[in-house]
Each structure stands twice: as C-alpha cells, then as structure tokens.
C-alpha cells in the first residue's frame, strides 16, 4: 500500500467488505480529524458495525485503505495491535468482565504492557491505583468499585465499559450505541460524559437515538447501504431529501 499523506487521525478510503455476495460496506470513505467528535447514524444494515469491525481489525476489508494517525495501515494489523495503537472500542451490548469487580475491570484495561510474562509478574502500582480511583469518579462508579460487574445495572455497565475505554488511554474512541437501553436521565448523563471525554480525545459515536445525537451537537455522517449518504451538522443533514427518503421510506 502506498502511504497516504493525511492530517486526519482516521482515514478510510473506498472500503469494501462483502459477506457471501452481500456488500456490507460499499466504497466507504471517511476522515475523522484529531480532537473531533463525530456521530454516525444510519438505518439498520447501513454498515455501521462492519465499519467498526474494519477499524478495529476484526474484519479484513476486500478492498480500500484504512489508515490511523497517517502511518498505520489498519488492514494489516490484528485486534490486539490496533488496540495498543490507541483505538478503543465500546460494543453495542455492554461487554464487561462479569466475574471481576468494577475496579479489576478497570485494572485490566489500564494502559500497560500486555505481554504474558510482564502480566504474570506485574503488581498494582500506586499510580495505577490512583488512576483507577480517578476513572471510577469519572464514570460515577466510585461506590460500586468492589461490586462484581455482573451485579451492575445496564446503564452502569455501559459506563464501566466507557471507563475501561478511557483506562486504555486511546487516541480514538469508537462508541457503538452508548445510549441504547438507557433511561432519559442516563442518556443525558452519557452525552455529558462523552463531551467531557472529547476534550482530550477523538470520539466516533454510532447511534440510533436522534435525541441523543442532537444532545451531542456535533458533525453527523449518515450511512446508507455501506457508504456515506450525507455529512454535516444535524440540521443540515436532516433537511437533505435523500436522508429523509432513507429514514422515512418512500
């Protein structure tokens, strides 16, 4: 692959992914700038999750380029490598380690060396402990630190997972439907949390909930049938006739 000169933190160019003839992504191109927060919306089957899979190394694209920070070819790296480059991913369904305590979940996510033997002989340093305390504050789980993650509410699990993302100290956060299944109050709290995170990191949010996207108040990319349909501020995008057609049907 020829190196692309781009100032974007994440640069996707003409990505195509097919599953048994079905084109999940069809020439998708997207550029996310450093420090940006971007909301990605689109109907079911638009390819949002597949796009996340490509960026995090779970799925190899058939064609196209995916470049991180201008130098790393994401299509050639595995999940662990990409995670360690600084791309964190939150899944649609909250995925935390249920038989570990909240604090241990964060400990496992903390950015440290991930080698087998380094991990075997590692011990929790004072700084790490302080970092965990800080994260617990950020995601409002200070009181629940010794609770097993399995016993958290759905909303708390979502926050714990966001906390785990932050613990990784990623440059780029991919957040898949963070507000799914949350109460209105939790949704508003989550939007505040994401805006707070965006002060120091680049964030890509995939979301269905339009009220939540409006809350975030950021540039929106509309995906449809595996490629970008429209891009811009929410008001601009929602006035676009093609977007209305896709969302509301003919």
């Amino acid at each position: 692959m020829t190196p692309v000169s781009t100032s974007a933190l994440l640069y996707l160019n003409a990505i195509t992914v097919s599953f048994d003839g079905f084109r999940a992504l069809n020439g998708l191109s997207l550029a996310i700038d450093r420090g940006e927060m971007r909301a990605i919306i689109g109907p079911n089957g638009a390819g949002k999750t597949t796009m996340m899979d490509v960026i995090t190394g779970k799925t190899r694209p058939d064609d196209g380029e995916a470049v991180f920070a201008g130098v790393h070819d994401l299509t050639a790296l595995d999940e662990a490598r990409i995670a360690n480059l600084g791309i964190g991913r939150k899944f649609q369904r909250p995925t935390v380690f249920e038989s570990h305590t909240v604090a241990n979940n964060l400990l496992l996510a903390l950015k440290t060396t991930r080698g087998v033997f380094a991990t075997l002989f590692s011990s929790v340093s004072r700084e790490q402990d302080e970092m965990i305390q800080e994260l617990l504050e950020t995601v409002h789980l200070g009181d629940a630190q010794h609770t097993l993650a399995a016993n958290l509410s759905h909303g708390q699990k979502q926050w714990l997972e966001i906390g785990m993302l932050l613990a990784q100290q990623p440059q780029l956060l991919l957040v898949d439907e963070p507000a799914a299944g949350m109460t209105d109050a939790e949704t508003a709290k989550t939007a505040r949390l994401l805006r707070e995170i965006n002060k120091s990191r680049t964030v890509v949010v995939v979301e269905h909930d339009m009220a939540f996207v409006r809350d975030l108040d950021v540039k929106v990319t509309v995906m449809h049938e595996g490629s970008v349909l429209a891009e811009g501020p929410l008001d601009h995008v929602s006035a676009d006739e093609r977007v209305i057609e896709v969302y509301l049907g003919r």
Binding site: E79, F97, H100, T101, L106, R114, V116, T119, L120, L136
Partner: protein
C-alpha cells in the same frame, strides 16, 4: 481506600497445605512404625492407592487451571499425563538392566522379542534419571505447545476445541499401540524393578513415592495459585468470560491461552510420571479418550475454577471408584455417568464451588474476600439458563 485490595493469603490454601503436610508425615509413619495388624496400621496397598490418587489430583489440578480459569475444556489431558508416564516408564525400563526375561543388558524385553538389534535413538539417554525427568516436562510441554499454537492461532474454541483434543489423545493411543513405535505396543512398559538402585516393591519405596507425590501436588498447587491470583490470572478469567473484549483491550488472547495450556500440560506430565512407578505399568490405554473425560468429571464434581475442588474431586471420585469397582465392577460406568449428570443438575458449581459461593454470599460485599472473588466460578445466580448450560458444557 485502595481500589485493588492487597492479595491476601486465603484460608483455603492454608487448610490444603496443612492436610497435605499431615498426610505426608502420618501415612508413612502409620505404614512403617505401626506393626501390621495394629488398629492404626496403614497397609502398603493403601499407601500406593493414596499415592495414585495424589497423582490423579495433580492431573485434575492441571485440568482445572485451563478449564476453570480460562474456559478451555480439554478432553485430552490424558495424553499429557500418559506422555509423562511413558518418559518415566522408559527410565524404569532401562533400570531393569540384565534382569529381564531375556537377560539383555541394554534392550528391554519387548525389543528383544521384536528382534531390535539396538536401542532406537529416542531411547538414548533415558538411563539418566535427570534426562528422563526433563523429558517428563518437555514431551507433554512440546506437544501442548505445537497443538496449542495451531489451535489457538486459528481461534478454535469451545466444543470444537474439546473435540480436537479428543482426536489428539485418540491419535496418540493408536500410535502407541503400534509395535514399531518402539514403546512396547499394547503391552506398554512394565516389570519395573528399581529406581536409584532401590527395589520398587519395598514398603519404604512406596512411602517415599507417596511423600514425593504429595510434595509435587503441593508445589503444583502453589504454581497454579500463583498464576490465578496474579494479574495474568485476571486476564485468564477475562478471556473465559468475554474473549473478544479481552482482545479489543489489546491482549493477545492466543498467547495467554498457550501459556496456561503448556503449564497445564507439564503439570499433567509430572502427574503421569508419579503415577507410573506406583502402579507399575504404563500402556496405551492411558491415552484412551475415556480416561481424559473421567478427569473432567473429577474436576466438575469437586468444583472447577477453585483448584482445591479439583484435588478434592479427584480423590473423592477415585475413592468411590476403588470401592465401587470392588463391589459391583460391571456397573461402574453407569455410576460415573450418573455422578456427572447429578453434579451438573444439582451442584453445577461442584462441591467446593458451592461451599465458596455460600460463604461468599454471606461475606460479600461487606468485606471483599480475594479468595472467593478469584475462586468462584460465576458468583451470580444463573441469569440465562440455556447459556449457563452451554457454559457448563464448555461451549
């Protein structure tokens, strides 16, 4: 208050080490110092039986490390056990010297019988005890390394992994059955005479083997516990519960799996090496898929993901087996099957798992007990029964 509590030395290890120490001292004493016929005399037969159980307990421990903590259900751990056993058996064969039926000072009897002219190259060095012990670790370790590298890199998990472990041990069995493999064919290796020049049949030798087995079990437990209470142990549990999440956190899951898999195989090999001199024979039936499955049942009964449970399960089930096969041998497999089904239905956490869960429910969350957190399998009541069942089956 610190987020991560300092590692505490739980009560369970103390109990285990104490029991093992008491056994290691009292059993040989009651065998040698108390005269035969006295009420507290422990016969040499019983000492050997206990030594055999101890070797099985080490095998169960090895299995629990991968199954209970990393969710890798091996139905082929008998292969590692048998390889360790064969390495020990080869040393004991060489120690027979010219006392075999054919009186050949170099070649074991079966080789003379099969017209071998000289010792095959892979038998060289086994007259040296230390070399044999090295192979006890290396042979199972290497097999596990090669097998694990391919399986884990290809991301074979769940039942598919379990099935290929069965295939592995079955293939080993077929290979070792062949006479031209040079491992004694279906008769295996037997008629051992001595080790370090000491008669294997002596009561004191049996006692020594028992003590060494108990010491090996204690050491194996210490190693396993060090692993599962380390941060690596937490990663293993994370892999068990949510493998792809662990991967997206940046952990190379296959390397972690490979590490415990190889450690576990080496422990199983040591267990096999301790087993062989005590029972006096090693043959390809040790590779039989059924033996490996039996070991899984020990762990399930005792409680997987608890280490101590695996040890307890191995001793209890084998004690039950010794008694049962003496009383009504033809029904043993039915009893074993019933035991597994009843455990799965009534005690899914196993004996120790259930006890820990009860204790944990009382103690948490007021004081966090590192022990129960680390040792409990899934300290939550079943949420999704179907899923629980699948998990229980290792899927």
């Amino acid at each position: 208050m610190s987020a991560i509590p300092a590692r505490r030395f739980g009560t369970l290890p103390v109990v285990l080490y104490t029991v093992l120490a008491v056994l290691a001292v009292s059993v040989p004493l009651l065998n040698l110092a108390v005269p035969e016929g006295a009420p507290f005399h422990v016969s040499t037969y019983v000492v050997t039986l206990l030594g055999k159980y101890t070797a099985y307990a080490l095998l169960a421990l090895a299995l629990d490390l991968v199954w209970g903590y990393c969710g890798i259900l091996s139905l082929g751990h008998g292969a590692f056990f048998a390889l360790g056993g064969y390495a020990m058996g080869m040393h004991l064969m060489r120690m027979i010297g010219p006392r075999g039926v054919y009186g050949n000072p170099i070649l074991p009897d079966f080789m003379v019988f099969l017209n071998y002219k000289e010792l095959p190259w892979y038998w060289l060095g086994f007259d040296n005890f230390l070399f044999a012990m090295l192979i006890v670790l290396l042979a199972p370790g290497l097999l596990a390394y090669v097998f694990g590298t391919f399986a884990f890199r290809s991301r074979v998990t769940g039942v598919y992994f379990s099935i290929i472990t069965q295939a592995m041990t079955f293939a080993m069995m077929l290979a070792f059955f062949r006479n031209d493999m040079g491992f004694g064919g279906n008769n295996g290796l037997t008629d051992f005479k001595e080790i370090f020049g000491i008669d294997l049949q002596l009561a004191s030798t049996r006692d020594a083997f028992f003590v060494v087995s108990v010491a090996a079990l204690a050491a194996g437990y210490a190693i396993c516990r060090a692993i599962v209470t380390s941060k690596l142990g937490k990663v293993l549990i994370a892999i068990r519960d949510a493998e792809s999440r662990t991967r997206f956190l940046g952990y190379r899951v296959e390397q972690y799996k490979l590490f415990v898999w190889v450690v576990s195989a080496c422990l199983a090999g040591v267990a096999g090496a301790l087993y062989v001199p005590q029972v006096g024979i090693i043959n390809p039936s040790e590779f039989a898929p059924a033996s490996s499955i039996e070991a899984v049942i020990w762990v399930a009964v005792g409680g997987r993901g608890t280490l101590v449970g695996a040890i307890l399960g191995a001793v209890l089930v084998n004690g039950f087996k010794s008694w049962f096969t003496g009383a009504i041998p033809e029904l043993w497999l039915f009893a074993l099957g019933a035991l597994f089904i009843l455990t799965t239905l009534l005690l899914p956490r196993g004996i120790v798992g259930t006890l820990l869960h009860r204790a944990g429910a009382k103690a948490m969350p007021a004081t966090l007990q590192e022990d129960t957190v680390d040792d409990a399998i899934s300290p939550e009541p079943p949420r999704d029964i179907k899923q629980e069942k699948l998990v229980r089956l290792g899927a």
